[in-house]
């Protein structure tokens, strides 16, 4: 009502207004939180601000960073992919098993990526063509991909990968704590970031997440988009699997069990709404790094590494629940169920 009383033609908001929105937004908050944690840790935890700490931090979070990129788009599109860690494991096992069979490492890795694409395509097919909810589908493929990984190698582990390749993934840019593989992430992040935030496809991702039917009415090929998002997720998970194998020098069926939950947790901490339609990549990257920084700070502070589970869980709940509770504490009466007809003010 108040809005309707404005009688001028609505214009684009001023740069100032947009800047204010950006600075008060969720992304800025999570980036700020990350910086605060880094700052506090640098002063209070010995050895935190060394390049070695950062080096290991980056190496540790690298797989989560890789998978979080497609996961961000998928969750914004109101889908979810819980099969990522299983695909990582399957990819790792394939690299190991094929290498053991005498394949070259490159060919084995390529095969793993192809299987990643196929696995993603299976998810995409079941979601878009058969019309199943992605939560159910990817719980199924979570079991399936992991089952294949464990089935192929059993409890064995393949080791003995060429040291050159292993050195490559753990190499760092001279004089810094930044691993060379981070370049791969930067390129990938730029790619996903541009697609999500500055292309027609990105607009469709948000539109599909908020209301897939209206997106279809607006000429959006929602199913096609969804399908390719799952393929991208499969490929990135497989890529993370190749990395994992070389970084730890071991291909095992149970590699990265449960990592899907870390990825989802990081994406949500990074400000993406589980309902879809909201969130941005910078926040997600800050979210992953935030959890990584906390983990390594705690480790350096000699806190049992197990505490990190509690911290991750609490952080997840706090960042997701927090804003709503704060809003309520402020007494702002939020309209119940704004996403539904119940809350429609006529």
């Amino acid at each position: 009502m108040t809005v309707d009383q404005v009688r001028t033609v609505p214009a684009a908001p001023t740069t100032q207004a947009r800047l204010r929105k950006l600075l008060l937004g969720r992304d800025a908050a999570i980036i700020g939180l990350f910086l605060v944690v880094v700052l506090v840790a640098s002063f209070s935890v010995d050895n935190f601000s060394t390049s070695t700490t950062w080096y290991f931090l980056f190496l540790d979070v690298f797989p989560i960073l890789l998978i979080a990129l497609p996961m961000t788009l998928i969750i914004i599109a109101a889908q979810i992919d819980l099969s990522v860690a299983s695909m990582l494991g399957l990819s790792s096992v394939l690299v190991g098993a094929l290498y053991e069979q005498g394949w070259s490492l490159g060919a084995a890795a390529l095969a793993a990526l192809v299987v990643g694409a196929l696995g993603g395509a299976l998810n995409g097919f079941l979601v878009t063509v058969v019309g199943l909810p992605s939560l159910a589908v990817t719980i199924g493929t979570l079991a399936l991909f992991r089952g294949l990984a464990v089935g192929i190698l059993g409890t064995r582990a393949v080791t003995g990968f060429p040291s050159g390749a292993q050195d490559l993934v753990s190499a760092r840019f001279a004089g810094t704590g930044i691993p060379v593989v981070m370049a791969v992430f930067v390129v990938a992040a730029l790619g996903f970031g541009v697609v999500l935030h500055a292309t027609a496809t990105g607009r469709l991702v948000y539109a599909a997440g908020l209301n897939a039917e209206a997106a279809r009415f607006a000429g959006g090929r929602v199913n096609r988009l969804t399908f390719w998002l799952f393929v991208a997720s499969g490929v990135m998970s497989a890529l993370a699997g190749v990395y994992w194998t070389l970084r730890y020098g071991s291909a095992r069926g149970d590699n990265a069990v449960g990592l899907e939950l870390s990825v989802v947790a990081a994406v949500l901490v990074g400000g993406v709404s589980i309902f879809g339609g909201r969130g941005a990549l910078p926040g997600v990257i800050a979210g992953v790094l935030l959890i990584g920084a906390l983990r390594s700070a705690l480790r350096l502070a000699d806190v049992s590494s197990d505490v990190i589970n509690v911290v991750t869980g609490v952080l997840l709940i706090a960042t997701v629940v927090g804003p709503g509770l704060v809003a309520r504490a402020r007494g702002a009466t939020r309209r119940p169920g704004t996403r539904s007809s119940v809350g429609a003010v006529d």
Partner: protein, 513 residues
């Protein structure tokens, strides 16, 4: 009925009013949804509540229903202060509400739907399916409806869903029945049935509040009318003592030309041509064409397959056989994006679910259909979006604080303008528009009508589906009527009158030549 006096407070000797609403206010953060509502409903009365969209009617309903709690003011039910905290409180106090949109549980049986929240129990306090089934069957029978009480609500037509809602409300035996645009999805027979029920309840002494945008219904059914505007009470009067013009003037605060604009024009070539379009169980052998500079109206009851046909034409739904041609060239099925490239636009029936992204900004909504055309080298910038959104918001006079305003917070009329902007910005050659004025205020309605007429003048081929007969008759150059998935009549403007169209829409024999 007219023995009662007005709101001014003179004594009412016969009985006390069932409901009195006094100075009711509701704020949602900064938004004032209800500024000062007054309402008095007496037992044995059907009371119309009218107002433009955004007048606060639905907010008032939700306050009565206990969905929201008022910011200030009071409600008095049967001389007792009435402060429902939850819908259950309101129900227990004797209020039944039929909402605009059915609120059924698709997985549950019809009988369980009717009794949900107060399921009938039998031995050992366990739920008795048989008792509910029998009672539901009785209630359905009194309405003259045949619905299996044991079937799940999933798959019921909208009209049937609304009938189940009515059964639910009747079963409550409420002292106050509130119906918020219950007829929006009903037509003909079902409306009559609903009115019969409302009168029955009235005669039993219940108070009925009836909200509608259809004046014929209001004047046929209601004893008194309360008009609201901008969240405030404007007037309450006896139906017998007023007329449509007066009410409309009070609703908009100015007089409105209720005539439909229609310019005489000579249509050009056929642009859209549909032949033998068939989808099993939905529509069958549909032929239609529309020329440049022509408005083709499509009439028919809800469920006649009108919307389904245009959805299939546009590519949202598949079809089994038949063809769609634009400028003589075949348009392939199931691809809205291709349809858009060929100059087709579809303004869908359900604004909030299909037409609009209620959580996106005005700018993002308007630019969504243009997202590819606005991209340069694959990159889409916000400023390109703001540019086109600003242009169209100006043309259609969208009222919003700025282009970042979230579309869902606008009034119904402004939302419809955003949807229109979204589609007109694609500069379509064929504009299909499904229920162009459903649920929007009288003022915006007239604007939309003028706009459609102007578009046809400019050579756009317009296909307009509408449930409002006057709109179809007033706007169309030709009228196509559908009944149960088939075309039952195609009439020229001169031959199209209400009786002929209704006869064809209800499938009455002997009328269709």
């Amino acid at each position: 009925m007219n023995r009662f006096t007005d709101l001014k407070g003179e004594a009412v000797p016969e009985s006390h009013p069932t409901l009195v609403v006094h100075g009711l206010v509701k704020h949602f953060g900064p938004v004032i949804a209800l500024a000062r509502a007054e309402l008095e409903v007496r037992p044995g009365e059907i009371h119309a509540l009218v107002g433009e969209n955004g007048a606060g009617k639905s907010t008032l309903v939700k306050l009565l229903a206990g969905v929201y709690q008022p910011t200030a003011g009071e409600m008095i039910l049967d001389r007792q202060p009435f402060e429902p905290r939850t819908p259950a409180d309101a129900r227990d106090a004797g209020i039944a509400v039929i909402y605009q949109e059915p609120t059924l549980f698709p997985d549950l049986s019809v009988a369980e739907n009717v009794f949900m929240g107060r399921l009938l129990t039998g031995r050992g306090g366990l739920v008795s399916r048989r008792a509910m089934r029998d009672r539901t069957r009785e209630l359905l029978a009194t309405l003259g409806v045949e619905i299996d009480p044991d079937r799940p609500a999933l798959g019921l037509s909208i009209a049937d869903q609304q009938l189940v809602e009515i059964v639910k409300a009747v079963s409550l035996d409420a002292k106050l029945l509130v119906m918020d645009e219950p007829t929006a999805a009903l037509s003909g027979v079902e409306v009559d049935r609903l009115f019969a029920v409302a009168r029955q309840l009235r005669d039993r002494g219940a108070a009925v509040v009836f909200i509608s945008h259809r004046f014929d219904e209001i004047f046929a059914l209601c004893d008194r009318i309360t008009v609201m505007r901008d969240g405030e009470h404007v007037s309450t009067q006896d139906t017998a003592a007023t007329d449509v013009g007066t009410i409309v003037k009070q609703m908009v605060g100015r007089s409105v030309d209720t005539m439909f604009p229609h310019t005489d024009r000579t249509p050009g070539d056929v642009v859209l041509e549909v032949e033998g379009l068939t989808r099993a169980g939905t529509f069958d052998g549909i032929d239609l064409h529309v020329r440049a500079g022509e408005i083709l109206g499509i009439a028919g009851l809800v469920g006649s397959g009108r919307s389904e046909v245009v959805r299939a034409v546009f590519g949202i739904d598949p079809y089994d056989s038949g063809s769609v041609r634009i400028d003589g060239r075949v348009l392939h099925a199931g691809d809205p994006e291709a349809a858009m490239r060929r100059g087709l636009a579809l303004v869908p029936e359900d604004r909030r679910k299909q037409g609009l992204h209620t959580d996106l900004s005005v700018a993002r909504n308007i630019a969504l259909t243009l997202r590819r055309r606005l991209s340069r080298g694959g990159i889409l910038t916000s400023s390109a979006e703001y540019g086109v959104a600003h242009e169209w918001a100006a043309i259609l006079q969208v009222k919003a604080r700025d282009l970042d305003t979230v579309a869902g917070t606008l009034s119904g009329g402004n939302q419809q303008k955003v949807v229109l902007a979204k589609w007109l910005s694609t500069r379509p050659r064929v504009l299909i528009i499904d229920e162009p004025t459903r649920g929007i205020d009288v003022g915006t309605k007239a604007e939309v009508h003028r706009l459609l007429d102007r578009l046809a003048d400019e050579g756009v081929a317009v296909v307009m589906i509408s449930s409002e007969l006057p709109e179809v008759l007033g706007m169309s150059d030709r009228v196509l009527v559908m009944h149960e998935g088939r075309v039952t009549a195609v009439l020229d403007r001169a031959d199209a009158d209400a009786e002929t169209v209704m006869a064809a829409a209800t499938g009455s024999s002997g009328v269709v030549a």
